[in-house]
């Protein structure tokens, strides 16, 4: 643990309105975190992302961010398409707007509940369980289909410096309802900080959630997010990840396909620039028959960047007729970039279709030659090939305006190259 990051258990006493049970739960988790500290590469799940070393290298001091919100104007809303929004400031719920929807179908609240969670080996989750105070809880009523997309503005203020923010969110989509959301990170801080999020997603029978992550701008922030998804009968979850531009990002997704006929899609298109580090770790638990999971992870890695994909597919003995697919592809732009892939299949059912594959390579010189022979510079040709490599993930977005918006964001990321 870094020298100046000592958490006193009085931090938990400062959290208001908690039951004795919750207090005990938080204290237990704090003890657990204290005994291990930040995870280093000896933790199997962290073998490619030595978080302790990264933190030691980047932080001389680190403090817990208490959630305070002032009311100044923060942000320009996206003008490219009409949308509802939830506005988070440093991870805490600030405001929301559902003018396009039937408001009585939507419940949005601050969220800090901490008890119902299992004990975990991930020290960052323990830390979150111990200290998370302020996030959001969103619940969509039965039989309600959102008319417009919901943008979650994840805004970080400019004074956030050497802080660690712990937040907890929950999204519940009830029977036969549908929600499309974009988590849009906007960062005003030029300093280093850590955002540590635990998020629960629950999709009830026939529910559908499409989520998409994208950044507005580069950030010096270090992000860790643990996503715990529970999918019930015939529900449909998809997550498109375009979160390039962060100094460090680890997205840890655990998805339980609890009842039959549900579907889980996780796709990413990342362009990692100088010194950036991104890990996507998934565990898809096929716990019931006839479910489908699909994962496609694409990384373009430039100077000294590091990309990681650890993907596990677990198929329980009862989960017959499972169809699970996993593929990771990396395009390495120079010798100093690195991509690690660890696919894992653990299958206990005998009538399943599971596949995984991983490729990494450099830019094809013949393709470059072809493009340059039409008058394009080497740089422009490279950018075209990079965009081409990442494009097939964007193709999945159905709304033309959102697709254009994401294309533009991705192009900005690549043009920084």
């Amino acid at each position: 643990m870094i020298g100046n990051f000592n958490i006193n258990s009085s931090e938990i006493d400062k959290i208001k309105n908690i039951t004795q049970e919750e207090k005990v739960f938080r204290e237990k988790n704090l003890e657990s975190f204290k005994s291990s500290g930040f995870p280093n590469k000896k933790f199997e799940d962290w073998k490619f992302s030595d978080f302790r070393e990264i933190i030691n290298k980047n932080f001389d001091e680190l403090e817990i961010q208490k959630n305070t919100i002032n009311n100044s104007n923060y942000i320009n809303l996206i003008k490219d398409f009409e949308h509802n929004y939830i506005f988070l400031v440093n991870g805490s719920l600030h405001s929301s707007n559902f003018d396009y929807e039937e408001k009585n179908k939507i419940k949005i609240n601050k969220y800090s509940e901490a008890v119902k969670y299992q004990v975990t080996k991930n020290p960052l989750i323990c830390l979150n369980h111990a200290l998370a105070e302020n996030g959001y809880s969103l619940e969509i009523d039965k039989n309600y289909k959102f008319k417009k997309v919901l943008v979650i503005y994840n805004f970080f203020t400019k004074d956030i410096k050497n802080k660690i923010l712990n937040n907890k969110n929950i999204v519940k989509v009830n029977e036969n309802s549908e929600l499309h959301l974009i988590e849009y990170t906007v960062n005003k801080s030029k300093f280093k900080f850590i955002s540590n999020i635990y998020e629960n997603i629950i999709l009830k029978k026939n529910a559908k959630l499409k989520s998409l992550y994208v950044q507005n701008n580069k950030s010096e922030g270090f992000f860790h997010k643990f996503l715990r998804n529970k999918l019930y009968f015939k529900s449909d979850y998809s997550n498109l990840i375009f979160s390039s531009g962060l100094k460090f990002n680890k997205l840890d997704i655990e998805c339980d396909l609890i009842e039959e006929n549900c579907e889980c899609n996780i796709l990413s298109a990342l362009f990692l620039n100088k010194d950036e580090h991104q890990e996507i770790k998934t565990r898809i638990n096929h716990l019931a028959p006839n479910c489908k999971s699909y994962q496609r992870v694409k990384n373009v890695l430039s100077n000294d960047s590091k990309g990681i994909f650890q993907g596990k597919i677990y198929v329980k003995d009862v989960a017959q007729k499972t169809n699970a697919y996993q593929l990771s592809k990396a395009l390495l732009l120079n010798e100093n970039s690195e991509f690690n892939s660890k696919p894992e299949l653990e299958i206990y059912a005998d009538d399943v279709k599971c596949s995984h594959g991983s490729t990494s390579g450099s830019i094809d010189e013949d393709s470059l030659y072809y493009l340059m022979s039409r008058g394009l510079s080497r740089n422009d040709s490279t950018k075209l090939l990079i965009n081409g490599f990442l494009n097939d993930v964007i193709e999945i977005i159905k709304s033309p305006t959102i697709k254009k918006f994401i294309e533009k964001k991705l192009e900005d990321q690549v043009n920084g190259y």
Partner: protein, 244 residues
């Protein structure tokens, strides 16, 4: 237009071109024939500026030495190569790519870049002139194209970029007669007193549709015989062996 003197090229210490001389004047169309491995495609690659070759000799294009110019600069100066095997570029939209190419060529000539609308008009004109389905341009560049579609796409690119000097590297190989006619139309409709062509082919058939001013035979990396169109007919009958 193009003057090649004593051109030698080797790759990985293997000599491929051994002192090739060729002069192409504005408005001329030259055909190059020759057995497999004689250096035809190498000549096309070397002229377009593909890296990896060791080169000596002279290549002057419009009075300037080409040797120190890379691929893109040569393309911007007006050299076009229709590839023998056009590459499939996944994820890159053909229209966007062509527009970007055209604009970088225009920009290098100090001309104004064109907007999407004017570009689409050019595309419409050229596709209907050649009888090519416009739809191929909204697809990913060459991805899943048939052999014929790829070659037609090369000719379409040539028409849109409007180069001064075009090299067609076995563009006729593997084409059915209708596609061959499209290729020939593309070339013939571009011919004028300022534009020149170098057409590499194995078959006299193409030269029934595209009338060359000169026919050269390339063997062991140099031109061993030059004649007019009748030379191609003769070769068709006798083969290359007699030339050696």
């Amino acid at each position: 237009m193009l003057e090649i003197k004593n051109l030698k090229a080797s790759i990985n210490n293997k000599k491929i071109l051994n002192g090739l001389n060729l002069t192409i004047k504005p408005g001329e169309l030259h055909a190059i024939m020759g057995p497999n491995g004689s250096g035809k495609s190498t000549l096309a690659n070397v002229l377009s500026g593909k890296s990896g070759y060791e080169i000596t000799g002279e290549i002057n294009f419009q009075g300037k030495d080409l040797k120190n110019l890379n691929v893109e600069k040569r393309a911007q100066k007006g050299i076009f190569l229709a590839f023998q095997y056009p590459l499939e570029i996944p994820g890159v939209n053909t229209n966007n790519f062509l527009k970007t190419s055209l604009n970088s060529v225009l920009k290098s000539k100090g001309k104004k870049e064109i907007d999407t609308l004017s570009f689409l008009k050019i595309v419409k004109d050229k596709t209907s002139e050649l009888g090519i389905d416009e739809k191929i341009l909204s697809r990913q560049l060459n991805v899943g194209f048939s052999g014929g579609e790829k070659k037609k796409n090369e000719i379409l690119q040539m028409k849109i970029l409007d180069p001064d000097f075009s090299i067609l590297d076995e563009t006729d190989s593997g084409l059915d007669i209708d596609a061959l006619k499209i290729v020939a139309k593309g070339v013939n409709s571009s011919r004028n007193s300022k534009k020149s062509f170098l057409v590499i082919t194995h078959y006299q058939r193409l030269l029934d549709y595209i009338k060359p001013d000169f026919v050269h035979v390339l063997s062991n990396g140099r031109i061993v015989k030059t004649g007019c169109r009748e030379l191609a007919e003769e070769l068709e009958k006798t083969g290359y062996e007699k030339l050696n």
